[in-house]
């Protein structure tokens, strides 16, 4: 729960967060014990995102469809019937999450799941809509529940797992590609995206990763559980900004036991790569800019660093630069941000 009451009020619902993880496991079925309107919201979001990415299949979410009758007489039968329908699909896994309504009417969802014939393949996550916290809490609850099912295993050298990618952000795969590019400099490869389009069997190999890289602090709760469960290092976030990339290479290299010479070489290669990237924007040198409001924590620091590297001045009467509503990931993220700056400076 966020400490700030304003943040807590605006923090969304666990259901959306939980489904943003649960719906990205091929071979699994997400079951939601809720009125159908709650799931329509998430389904619409997934549909919008899929259209943007030109992906035409959206994961199936089964909703128990709590209505007036269930509110009065209880909804456990509906949940059980929905689990029957889910089980009939013979999935690898059924992930059950709940909205605020069954929590309020007192349904014992855990018991329904436990006594179902498919119980051994059911993961029940009592998210409870907003009564269980925020969207972030929903994401972490599902990540943690799945991590607890993954067995402790021997480490496979040179492998890493990404944890808590933001499945609903439109540039999720571009960010992945950037992290993959950086890790390749260290000779590391990503074996598990926990949970983005990895099937259940792959997710259960989480314990083989030499280290875990969290998408950002949003996944910190799950990251703590994963780090403790497998006793391996956890990198707290994807690389942000130019110097952040270099720090990320050093930290991840060290966490995975990469030789110091290789880490130094990777940092040198990336530094040269960044210089080359910045040279494309040399016409911005000496320009004065004014960085607008920070829409996403951390963006201003990344922008200031890039401006300084390009020899730009920051002044109140400079070109107004609208900072992106996301944190630029890696050198590629900074490059995309600079294209927007160049457009603003050249075209007003």
């Amino acid at each position: 729960m966020p400490e700030n009451i304003y943040e807590a009020r605006m923090a969304g619902c666990t259901l959306g967060g939980a489904l943003s993880v649960a719906c990205f496991i091929p071979g699994a079925v997400a079951v939601v014990h809720a009125p159908q309107g709650c799931v329509h919201q998430t389904f619409s979001m997934l549909h919008a995102m899929a259209n943007e990415s030109e992906v035409w299949t959206v994961p199936e979410i089964l909703v128990s469809n709590i209505g007036d009758r269930e509110v009065i007489f209880g909804g456990e039968e509906r949940l059980s019937a929905t689990l029957d329908e889910a089980a009939a699909k013979n999935p690898d896994l059924i992930l059950v999450v709940t909205s605020c309504v069954p929590e309020t009417i007192g349904d014992d969802c855990g018991a329904v799941c436990a006594r179902h014939p498919y119980a051994d393949r059911i993961v029940y996550v009592p998210t409870s809509g907003f009564l269980g916290g925020s969207a972030k809490d929903g994401e972490n609850a599902v990540l943690a529940a799945l991590a607890r099912r993954a067995p402790v295993a021997d480490l496979i050298p040179g492998t890493v797992a990404l944890v808590g990618e933001k499945n609903l952000e439109s540039e999720a795969d571009q960010n992945y590609a950037e992290v993959e590019r950086l890790l390749a400099r260290l000779g590391l490869r990503i074996t598990i995206r926990f949970c983005r389009n990895c099937n259940y069997a792959t997710l259960m190999q989480l314990g083989t990763a030499a280290c875990f890289i969290l998408r950002d602090e949003r996944a910190a709760d799950a990251g703590r559980i994963i780090g403790e469960r497998f006793g391996r290092p956890v990198i707290p976030e994807f690389p942000r900004g130019l110097s952040g990339c270099l720090a990320f290479l050093r930290a991840t290299g060290a966490a995975c036991g990469v030789a110091e010479e290789r880490i130094c070489a990777a940092v040198a290669e990336e530094t040269a790569y960044q210089e080359l990237m910045l040279s494309k924007f040399s016409n911005l040198s000496g320009k004065t800019i004014f960085l607008g409001a920070e829409p996403f924590a951390g963006t201003t620091a990344v922008a200031r660093e890039a401006a300084a590297r390009l020899g730009m001045q920051e002044r109140a009467d400079g070109f107004l630069i609208r900072l992106p509503f996301y944190l630029p990931i890696g050198t590629a993220g900074v490059e995309k941000m600079l294209y927007l700056w160049r457009r603003a400076v050249n075209n007003g």
């Binding site: 159908q36 799931v39 299949t57 907003f130």
Partner: protein, 378 residues
């Protein structure tokens, strides 16, 4: 409406419908009494200012009335009318929210999501607004305008234009009007642009969807003897000829398209009738989002709808992009939200003369594009 398990439900809840209805009166401050999770969806969908109590779990435990008072008091400082729309959990905890403030301070709409769909929420909003009919109010009300409808702006403009041609003034637009105008009282007579969003205010004498227009205009003439229908009927006749002409041209080259339809009941029936009349189409799949009708089953279950569509192998889908995703080979024209196949910012109607033309034009262009793409592949 649905009692069974549903896969990927395609239609919003009652709370969203109630909010969309009330938000059609931009001078009303609409407060969603619920969590931010409930607030974000209508806010992002409708793109209009909305308020919320952004409830926390602790407020559910200790009661939400104080928080509601806090927000209502703050919003009341604007001096504008207030509507409070209730959501699932505060509707279940047994608090007497309806009497928590006077009717003068705010109207209370108990439309928790579990009580039904968007249309049922709209009905609850109308009940709370209690629009009076003023027997002496001249003109006619326009009904069936709802911000959730892809065509609401176009339908409103087109219906106003046609009524102006008839010489009949517009009284109240349900729902895109001012609270002040509503409080003057509605006219006793109403026409509808989309009967799935019925206000129930006044006597509805008919629909302004293209096939229904001649009858509706006859009834208008009976109610308003001084109205002049010649121009509208001439337009209707010209549009009819144009649609036959364009479809005939298509049918010289191609066989009648097999069509799948999924939309609100009013638009579904309309789309089916249009495709049968002008293309001679078979419509083997038709689903209504809000209520069943003769030969039109109800479903909001995306898996069920899409399985039927895929099995029918239609040439054309008239529905939302939820259905379009089921059969990528088929041509598609969006008649119900969401339509993510295109950027849509202009006001296009589905009602009236232009609405009929928009549907046939959209269907023809989608089909021709599909044929062109197939040709290219060969």
């Amino acid at each position: 409406m649905a009692e069974n398990t549903c896969a990927n439900p395609v239609w919003p809840c009652a709370m969203t419908g109630a909010v969309a209805t009330l938000a059609g009166f931009p001078d009303i401050c609409v407060i969603i009494h619920g969590s931010s999770g409930c607030y974000y969806y209508p806010r992002s969908l409708l793109k209009v200012p909305l308020f919320s109590t952004y409830l926390l779990e602790s407020e559910i435990v200790f009661g939400t009335i104080d928080r509601l008072h806090e927000v209502v008091t703050e919003v009341a400082a604007t001096g504008r009318p207030i509507a409070v729309v209730n959501t699932c959990v505060p509707a279940l905890t047994g608090e007497d929210l309806k009497t928590a403030f006077s009717e003068e301070t705010a109207m209370f709409v108990d439309a928790p999501g579990f009580c039904g769909n968007a249309e049922q929420g709209a009905v609850k909003a109308f009940e709370a607004m209690m629009p009076d009919v003023a027997a002496d109010r001249p003109g006619i009300n326009i009904d069936g305008i709802n911000l959730l409808d892809l065509f609401w702006r176009g339908n409103l403009h087109e219906t106003e234009r046609l009524l102006a041609l008839l010489g009949i003034p517009v009284a109240v637009r349900f729902c895109r009007d001012t609270w002040k105008n509503l409080r003057k009282g509605a006219a006793p007579v109403t026409v509808s642009a989309n009967s799935s969003y019925a206000s129930g205010v006044g006597t509805c004498i008919g629909s302004m969807l293209f096939p229904d227009m001649p009858k509706t205009i006859d009834r208008c003439l009976a109610q308003f003897p001084n109205a002049d229908a010649d121009a509208v009927l001439a337009e209707h006749q010209r549009a009819e000829e144009q649609m036959f002409y364009s479809c005939d041209k298509y049918l010289r080259k191609y066989t009648p398209p097999v069509v799948a339809v999924a939309a609100q009941e009013s638009y579904a029936v309309f789309a089916k009738a249009m495709m049968e009349r002008y293309f001679g189409s078979d419509v083997p799949v038709i689903f209504a989002r809000d209520r069943p009708a003769p030969e039109v089953p109800y479903s909001v279950n995306s898996a069920e709808i899409n399985a039927d569509i895929a099995a029918a192998e239609p040439d054309l889908i008239l529905g939302s992009t939820f259905e379009a995703a089921a059969c990528r080979k088929a041509a598609f024209f969006g008649i119900t939200p969401p339509d993510r196949s295109r950027v849509s910012v202009a006001a296009r109607p589905l009602a009236g003369v232009e609405g009929g033309l928009v549907l046939i034009e959209g269907a023809l262009n989608a089909l021709m594009n599909r044929h062109a793409a197939e040709e290219k592949k060969r």
